[in-house]
């Protein structure tokens, strides 16, 4: 059922498919559930396939991740609109989301880090994932997320601060428990 001709399909397989891990990983962290991430990244890859003739060369990973991101946000708008609307209220967020209690309940350090990252608003989560897990440059993050480079830098700053805050509080709680 592929809509690509043979030549385009070979190019698609060479340029885009190597970034399937990146596509899934971004969707997994934006949507938090693996099952949702698989559905949405599949949809995004099929869209990429459909739109591939419009790809004018350049950074295929950034091009694909842009489609993945758009597909994820459309999905979030449809399924979890609250999550997108609450994101900029940092103060409220810090008080309500990553509470030390929820984080301290999580067993090992891995779970604590995952939970802390997942409690960040999607727009902070995505810059962290792109920077720390995907190793993207600011320029690439700007291209993928369609936000200016200055905003990438300030989002990263706030995202890291929130993550440090969440982790510090959970570690503190953990230390108290261990004593």
């Amino acid at each position: 059922m592929s809509e690509l001709g043979l030549e385009d399909r070979v190019r698609f397989e060479q340029l885009v498919l190597p970034h399937m891990d990146a596509a899934f990983n971004l969707a997994r962290w934006l949507l938090r559930r693996r099952a949702d991430a698989e559905d949405v990244s599949q949809e995004a890859l099929l869209r990429a396939c459909r739109f591939f003739r419009g790809f004018r060369g350049g950074d295929a990973r950034a091009w694909l991740l842009q489609i993945v991101r758009n597909t994820c946000y459309t999905w979030l708008e449809k399924n979890h609109p609250m999550e997108l609307s609450m994101e900029f209220d940092e103060e409220i967020h810090l008080q309500t989301c990553a509470t030390p209690e929820t984080l301290a309940i999580a067993g090992d350090d891995r779970e604590r880090v995952i939970l802390a990252l997942e409690t960040l608003p999607p727009r902070f989560r995505e810059v962290l994932v792109l920077r720390e897990l995907e190793g993207c440059s600011y320029k690439e993050i700007a291209a993928i997320t369609s936000i200016p480079i200055g905003t990438v830098m300030s989002s990263l700053s706030r995202a890291r601060r929130q993550l440090q805050f969440a982790l510090a509080h959970s570690s503190h709680k953990e230390a108290v428990r261990e004593v």
Binding site: S2, E3, F24, R34, L45, R160
Partner: protein, 251 residues
């Protein structure tokens, strides 16, 4: 204590995004700013912790399989196993059931927008059918053979007619998926151009034909006798109209 100068550039410096003069400037600042020095250590600790946690989640094999299946569709072979055939028929029956239920429940959804979307899907399916290696169900010019093939697969009686004498030769048929539902497709040939006729059961009342074009293809859609028909081709509209009349009067 906060350092306003650093808050912004600190991230860029940490990520190796500050170059030349700006980096040198920040390094000078760093020599006498305790806050920034401490913050850099914190950022480094955070990064180390994220890396240790191994958060990266690669794509599961199931996703890879689905994408590969999409890119390399396998044409059904005549040696398909009986079990597969039964699975397939069961899925088809379930799909038909859902289609019929949805059709009965939601006639109100069938607006003009819907019509345009449907036409888009059908044109997409037509385009897919033009791709080399596209799934073909049965290739035969014999209307009885084609009808027999469909009768073994469909729960409804499909009108199958050959119009070779009037220039529209029956070439075969197949099943396709349009908007997630399974539909029968009759393939005709006219002056060397393929014409696909999509047919599926409906509970809606008969309509006069509606026509349109999309991506350079013409389509005619109408309902008659609890069946919906949609012709698609890049043939001239008048020729499609002729086939429409042939099908309509033969049923």
């Amino acid at each position: 204590m906060k350092c306003n100068f650093a808050n912004f550039w600190l991230q860029g410096y940490f990520d190796g995004e500050l170059r030349g003069r700006r980096a040198a400037e920040f390094e000078r600042h760093l020599q006498h700013c305790v806050h920034c020095a401490a913050e850099l250590v914190n950022l480094d600790l955070l990064r180390g912790r994220l890396q240790l946690t191994e958060l990266y989640e690669p794509a599961p094999a199931s996703l890879r399989r689905k994408i590969n299946a999409h890119l390399h569709p396998i044409a059904p072979t005549s040696a398909a196993s009986q079990a597969l055939l039964w699975h397939w028929l069961a899925a088809l029956a379930a799909m038909l059931f859902i289609v019929i239920v949805l059709w009965k429940v939601s006639p109100g959804l069938r607006s003009d927008d819907y019509q345009a979307e449907l036409a888009g899907e059908i044109v997409d399916a037509h385009l897919r059918s033009l791709q080399p290696g596209h799934m073909t169900g049965i290739a035969s010019k014999d209307e009885r053979v084609v009808k027999g093939w469909f009768d073994s697969k469909l729960k409804f009686a499909l009108p199958v007619r050959d119009f070779a004498k009037t220039g529209f030769a029956l070439n075969g048929g197949r099943l396709d998926l349009v908007e997630g539902r399974s539909v029968a497709v009759l393939v005709y040939e006219h002056n060397g151009r393929p014409i696909n006729v999509f047919i599926w059961p409906t509970s809606d009342p008969d309509t006069s034909p509606r026509t349109g074009s999309r991506q350079g293809f013409q389509w005619i859609d109408w309902r008659k006798g609890r069946m919906e028909f949609c012709l698609v081709s890049d043939a001239a509209p008048a020729e499609l109209e002729l086939l429409h009349q042939l099908i309509n009067s033969s049923g």
